[in-house]
Symmetry: C2
């Protein structure tokens, strides 16, 4: 059973306009809202992540969605379902980690129940006041594609954890405690007047580029050599990890070129341009000696799936 | 391990002012937010609840919290974690049921992951515009205690389901698809100027009365014969079901007596009065021939516990 198929059923049942973006933009209330869950032995294993890191990561993945909308992250609620082996120390460390991601974001509620595995579901709320909110369908021909960090490290870190290898720690930590940062996204949403697209690379760079290019009816043309990476990932099948490794939680923004004048160069790296879609490819990756075209079928086959 | 103990740890770790009420009141954004989870084989079993009813109930328990805050319910996000046995039909029926509780409340997001049991976490958002929001610590001496429906039916319904009995269907349905209603709560919050307390009876009438009387430093004096009930529950240990049966999801409001002038008599039943706390009792229940005093210890021992 495919996640996409189930989401199609939900969209049809609800007849909702909100389901395409990571965050729902609730214009009348001036907020965005997102909810993401982490399930033990599906998204994480206590064999390699500790309760502090788990609290951190559960919050980080939700804040990443808020940042990608352009909103200012404000509040979180957190629902924990815990088996007997996750006791007082687990709860304390989990919440310490949760609080540490962004101390300006307050955890204001949630609930606590028992279960046979650890289930974590977090809801994050952001304020849209004074900001222009992104949409995945807003990219236009000629828009520049920029990002705020390295890609592929988290996937390599996960592989190291699964191999029970001890290093490089930098890669392992990028999987366990991904850095999420709203400097680039806030600068864009507070200053831009044109419609723009923004997304985080939670399910991999290819998935992020595909979602925006398909919803915008365009093709993302990427310079492979411009994609920022940690040098350490070259020991891995790193092209694959960059595009399909998932969980890097970096911002990918699609903005008009003039907007560079508002951006500090340290905030971003340009990795490509949105171009007309002339064939089956939603992404074209330019290497020194060749161009690879990614079709929908190829991307879906290679991308991270929650239902396998 | 006690739920209360874990909540104490969370409160200490977060140092938050928000954790006491069911909803967090986010004044700066003009919203309230709540999140509640339902876990298979902890809160429900597919042996006796169908996917439509489960979708209904998951939403109803969250809307009940919003109603009890006095806010206007607006939006929901819904996170579902599903095992392989919950497929396309489950998802469709679940969302049909979820949508049916209150068609003016829109489901705007959430996520979908795999898991080994069904895990549902719903976040509900309400608008506080033009409304005075309740707090559990706001009851005052002399305030009248009123409710908008019958108590004890859900607990009897659960007992019938567990006994695999077929009736009375009215009681069974009050457990599977509890009616939740914002007429009373909206009328209060839209018209009242004094501070007031309001809560839903999700964990039983005794738990609801105890939470408000302890946080307000008072005692709730209840006339047993005034508590609205379905006649059918008299076949059960119904006093116990009324106070400790849980999951009736009725509104209990604590309001100044003058406010009755704003309320249609059909909207509420008066069941008691807030009085001074003169001994260990947080609740005193007056029967024809006796008075029963409920202490903290007694209430905690008898009330529904998520962690047993």
């Amino acid at each position: 059973m495919q996640e996409n198929k189930l989401i199609e059923i939900i969209k049809n049942t609800l007849n909702s306009k909100y389901i395409d973006d990571d965050c729902a933009y609730l214009d009348d209330l001036g907020i965005v809202v997102t909810q993401d869950s982490l399930v033990e032995d599906v998204h994480f294993s206590l064999d390699y992540i500790n309760p502090f890191q788990l609290g951190y990561k559960s919050v980080a993945v939700n804040l990443s969605d808020i940042y990608a909308s352009g909103a200012k992250a404000k509040y979180l609620t957190c629902s924990l379902s815990l088996p007997k082996y996750a006791g007082e120390n687990f709860v304390k460390e989990f919440y310490r980690g949760a609080k540490s991601v962004n101390p300006t974001v307050e955890i204001v509620g949630g609930d606590l129940t028992s279960s046979n595995k650890i289930f974590i579901s977090i809801c994050a709320i952001g304020s849209t006041r004074g900001r222009k909110i992104s949409s995945r369908s807003n990219a236009k021909k000629g828009y520049k594609i920029i990002t705020n960090g390295v890609h592929g490290s988290s996937g390599c870190g996960l592989e190291l954890l699964q191999r029970r290898s001890n290093g490089p720690q930098k890669l392992i930590m990028s999987h366990l405690m991904p850095k999420v940062d709203d400097k680039l996204s806030s600068t864009i949403s507070e200053n831009i007047t044109d419609n723009y697209a923004m997304i985080d690379s939670s399910d991999g760079l290819a998935d992020a580029l595909y979602k925006v290019s398909s919803l915008s009816g365009l093709c993302a043309e990427i310079d492979f050599d411009k994609i920022p990476i940690d040098e350490e990932i070259k020991e891995f099948d790193y092209e694959n990890k960059i595009f399909f490794g998932a969980e890097d939680y970096k911002i990918i923004a699609f903005i008009p070129e003039y907007f560079y004048m508002y951006l500090d160069e340290k905030l971003y790296t340009e990795i490509g341009t949105m171009v007309e879609k002339t064939d089956e490819a939603y992404i074209k990756v330019k290497f020194k000696d060749k161009v690879k075209a990614f079709t929908q079928e190829y991307i879906e086959k290679k991308s991270f799936k929650h239902f396998d």
